[in-house]
């Protein structure tokens, strides 16, 4: 380039130390040494290991504590019979496989699914503060499920009806919040979050209204427990649907990851790079609503996982969705399994709702993000 001084910022060697700032607007924050990331395969291996440990520990801890080595042996024996000699008491099989494993698996599936949905939503609305809970989508799903549970209108059976209703609820809510946030101009963070919170309040109130009409107090207690977010009700028979939907959803998201990357560049830019933004977003909204609906139907609204995990993951592996999505799924599964372990042990024999625990971690995180974003917006001005 001909303008002599341009090289000032670029001429230094690829430095480990912080690169010199270009003269002109001073950098608002220090430049973090992001060049020294852990290699991606190592991140995956580490998180895979962490997930395995979380599963085993989670299966070992409970009203009866089991030796983790035996728990691992039970699992290995199930998958590869003949690798280990079954030298453990037969009751271990029952405790691990029938009682505890469905719950741990559900926590893992929901953790992975919520993290993937959060990642996708953040790209779709181009806002790092998006999360299925914060945008009110979970509340919409809850309302749908509560409506059919209270009315008892199980037209599609007790398993499928709440899921379909929750899917419908989340889809309608997502479209409504998106329309509210983007009507009359540019969608800002404030508008998006306010629209999500407002819609969420209205929907929660409607769900409470419905619940107050419920006759059966037993049903009421169980629904209340579930709406706050919990995987305590996991059984083997409830697992296949969420597992399938989350796995297929993850696969589709991964397949579309390049386009998610483009969307971050801006709608108009994504269009000029070959993406039919409108059609893509519509399809993604359906997918994200389906995943959220099914997860809420089995585990209630578990908030902030979809907000925290993608952020942590981007710091680890960068912004490319082809890397972010698998990493987020692994980290999300591990996180929620451990959170559920805490939920059932911290105040044992009482259980804390999982959603309460994630909100306790997520709330402060959200505030930190908001402040950071405000700082950056100020710095840009």
């Amino acid at each position: 380039m001909s303008g002599g001084g341009v090289r000032s910022s670029a001429s230094t060697a690829p430095a480990k130390t912080s690169p010199p700032q270009e003269p002109g607007p001073p950098a608002p924050e220090r430049v973090s040494p992001r060049g020294r990331r852990i290699p991606y395969p190592a991140v995956l291996a580490l998180l895979g290991g962490a997930l395995a440990v979380a599963v085993v520990v989670s299966l070992a801890v409970g009203s009866v504590s089991l030796p983790p080595t035996d728990v691992a042996a039970v699992l290995v024996h199930q998958v590869f019979p003949g690798w280990v000699d079954p030298g453990w008491p037969a009751t271990y099989d029952t405790i691990v496989l029938d009682v505890r494993l469905p719950r741990v698996l559900l926590a893992g599936i929901v953790g992975a699914g919520l993290s993937a949905v959060g990642t996708a939503l953040q790209a779709l609305v181009r806002n790092p503060l998006a999360d299925p809970y914060l945008l009110g989508i979970s509340s919409g799903a809850s309302l749908g499920a509560v409506a059919v549970l209270v009315s008892g209108a199980m037209v599609l059976g007790t398993l499928a009806t709440p899921m379909v209703a929750a899917f419908a609820g989340s889809m309608v809510t997502l479209v409504a919040v998106y329309a509210l946030a983007s009507s009359g101009g540019r969608m800002t963070t404030t508008r998006l979050v306010l629209a999500g919170v407002a819609v969420s309040y209205v929907l929660s109130a409607l769900a409470d209204l419905l619940l107050s009409t419920a006759a059966d107090p037993h049903l009421l207690t169980s629904i209340r427990f579930w709406t706050l977010g919990s995987v305590a009700g996991a059984e083997w028979r409830t697992l296949p649907v969420p597992a399938t939907v989350v796995l297929i959803g993850l696969a589709v998201l991964l397949w579309q990851a390049r386009w998610l990357n483009l969307l971050v560049a801006g709608e108009e830019s994504a269009g000029t790079l070959g993406l039919d933004v409108h059609r893509f977003r519509t399809g993604m909204f359906v997918l994200v609503s389906l995943m959220t609906g099914v997860m809420v139907a089995v585990s209630g609204s578990i908030g902030f996982v979809g907000l925290m995990v993608p952020h942590a993951v981007r710091m680890l592996v960068g912004a490319d969705h082809r890397r972010v999505l698998p990493t987020a799924a692994l980290l999300g599964a591990t996180f929620l399994i451990l959170a559920d372990l805490a939920a059932r042990t911290v105040a044992a024999p009482q259980e804390i709702q999982l959603g309460v625990l994630t909100a306790l971690c997520g709330g402060p995180f959200f505030v930190w993000l908001l402040r950071r974003q405000a700082r950056r917006e100020r710095a840009l001005r």
């Binding site: 991964l254 483009l262 801006g266 790079l273 070959g274 039919d276 912004a319």
Partner: protein
């Protein structure tokens, strides 16, 4: 210098009108940009510069007329195949998502990619060469949102270059840049020898860098020609309502626009 084995294309805007709501924001605009030529679109705010550009890069369908790229209507091409031949820089910056300069430039390869999985080696090479061309290769792993305005604009140009386009459409590429960066960005674009259509605010920059200038006012072309032909005191007074003095650059011979009194 060029990794552009790609031939510069011809961009032919034919009798294009555009209505937004009830209002006609472009009326019967015709403009042909020859292969390798750079045409600047100037005009007061609201004249329809961005609208014209948006029809050219296929984000806005004209209500009449057509935009042809080497003879093919851009609306008859798939978005992806158009993206392999025409690169556009809308006035838009990527959202804050921990993107590096390299991530942004690599987006230009997406229209050329198929299926899932990693980028091929060729993609990586072209991304790197593109960053080198805008002298940002050594900042490839710096976070995009911490770059200066000029550096950001250069990275976005690298993204466009990575598309290996025959046509560049730039919406105010020098907006918010200081004098040196304005000059550098346009020098770079000029050196590429790609067919370029650029909306510009600064008439002196337009005069210095463009082969021809198209003056828009209220959605209509009021003048189209070389800078010397177009930048005249009566025309500027009519279009901008400002009295000017037109001089001649002592060395380049380009017209210079000064405010009168």
């Amino acid at each position: 210098m060029s990794h552009h084995e790609v031939r510069a294309a011809e961009l032919d805007i034919r009798d294009v009108s555009c209505t937004v709501g009830e209002r006609e924001v472009l009326s019967r605009v015709s403009l042909t940009v020859a292969p390798g030529e750079m045409v600047g679109v100037v005009g007061p705010n609201g004249a329809g510069k961005s609208t014209l550009l948006r029809t050219a890069y296929r984000q806005l369908r004209p209500s009449r007329g057509r935009v042809l790229l080497d003879g093919t209507d851009v609306f008859r091409m798939s978005r992806r195949s158009l993206a392999r031949r025409l690169a556009a820089l809308p006035q838009e910056f990527p959202a804050e998502f921990e993107l590096t300069a390299h991530d942004v430039a690599a987006m230009g390869r997406v229209p050329h990619q198929r299926g899932i999985g990693g980028d091929r080696l060729g993609d990586e090479r072209i991304t790197t060469v593109s960053l080198e061309m805008v002298e940002m290769a050594e900042s490839a792993h710096r976070p995009f949102d911490r770059l200066s305005g000029g550096e950001k604009q250069r990275v976005l140009i690298a993204r466009a270059l990575a598309q290996e386009p025959g046509v560049l459409v730039l919406d105010e590429p020098t907006n918010h840049l200081d004098m040196r960066h304005q000059f550098d960005v346009l020098t770079l674009v000029r050196r590429l020898n790609v067919t370029t259509l650029a909306a510009l605010h600064d008439l002196n920059l337009a005069a210095r860098f463009c082969d021809r200038i198209c003056v828009l006012a209220a959605g209509e072309v009021v003048a189209l020609g070389t800078p010397v032909e177009v930048l005249t005191e009566p025309l500027l007074s009519e279009v901008y309502g400002v009295h000017t003095e037109i001089g001649t650059h002592p060395r380049t011979g380009a017209p210079t626009v000064l405010f009168g009194n």
